[in-house]
Symmetry: C2
Amino acid sequence: MGTLSNTHALQDRLLTVAKEEFAKQGLKGARLQKIADEAQVPKATLLYHFKSKTVLYQRVLETILSAWDEGFEELTIDAEPEIFFRRLIDTKIASVRTDPLASKLFAQEIIQGAPHLDAHLSQQVKPWFRQQVSILEQWMDEGKIRRTDPTRLIFLIWATTQHYADFQAQVLTLMNRQEFDAELATDTSTFLHEFICNSLGIMDPKHR
Amino acid sequence: MGTLSNTHALQDRLLTVAKEEFAKQGLKGARLQKIADEAQVPKATLLYHFKSKTVLYQRVLETILSAWDEGFEELTIDAEPEIFFRRLIDTKIASVRTDPLASKLFAQEIIQGAPHLDAHLSQQVKPWFRQQVSILEQWMDEGKIRRTDPTRLIFLIWATTQHYADFQAQVLTLMNRQEFDAELATDTSTFLHEFICNSLGIMDPKHR
DNA sequence: TTTCTATTTGACCATTTGATCAGATTAGTG
DNA sequence: CACTAATCTGATCAAATGGTCAAATAGAAA
């Protein structure tokens, strides 16, 4: 009773463990045996639920991407630029802090040429990206933010936030820290928000 | 005559080919056979010059890092902030464009926890990093740039430039481009310089 | 030429690893 | 209970892969 060990729960556990192994070792470096061990299940059971290593990997990727899609769809865009950037940055930093492994896995996939992501990039990311660009362009037309290249502005936000997940080892070393704690996350979020708003000519309410 | 196929030249060729394979496939994913084929040499010959896969990988890493160390040591720091940022960004973007594979390999190493980089991070990168921080602090004291967190400012420059190498697949897809050409590099460099100077309160000479 | 060393290379090996499969066990249904 | 389908798992395999080795070759020095 109540063991909740139905098929769905087991597959979820396998996906979680697999995400960790794939993020830490890469697709080629990950070992099915280790994933199975970690999930306390025979390797054959793992391969019963996911018929190959590649399928398992793709399912892990899909899980990550759909979670992100959800999180960023929620972002309301009717706000003023300052609020919008705050929400965007906070959301990304939160996801980076909550689940850095997801970010690392995604990064490795892109670095290697996104061989398993063609569809998602052009069908999910691109539309979202274009929408963000058009919002920024509108704000530039309205004079709400300084005129600049919206495409590279989004890349900048993307890169600076993701950096704290992907390069966590380096960041922590250089900051003499042990972990990416909540305080570090808040400070980082504040810094980025301030830096971007400053560059775009959005005055901080405190100083207005 | 003149084949220049002495030991040194061969090892250089092997290192170059190996860098490409490691960058594209990761340490675990790289295949010695493929590296040997690409260099038109039997696998046994490859393993004669580098006694194991790990050694080969470490030698590749060392080659990349020492090239970087050289490139960034040349950066004179006696300039005004605006010139300094211009040089720093140009140098990084140039390296990202000239040799994105080096950047990708490095990124994968950091993502996986920098298991082969502990020494270099604390002995080479950290001192350079601290020096940069102190320069920025001095400029803040002198009122030459807006006061902000120098550590995260350096991360920002690092992240935004590196992004164009590591996430090249995504960047090109979203920009509808085929390659990271010279024009794209120049524009990116200009954008970043302008964005950062704007945020730090450094006026563009053109608009002064 | 002779000798010694460095380099090259084909053949081979031990191990790892993703994947298969048949048989056992469990769960659901009438 | 009887029956079927789904799930689980130990045993096993075929292929891939990093690495070894002895023999061959080239090169330099005497």
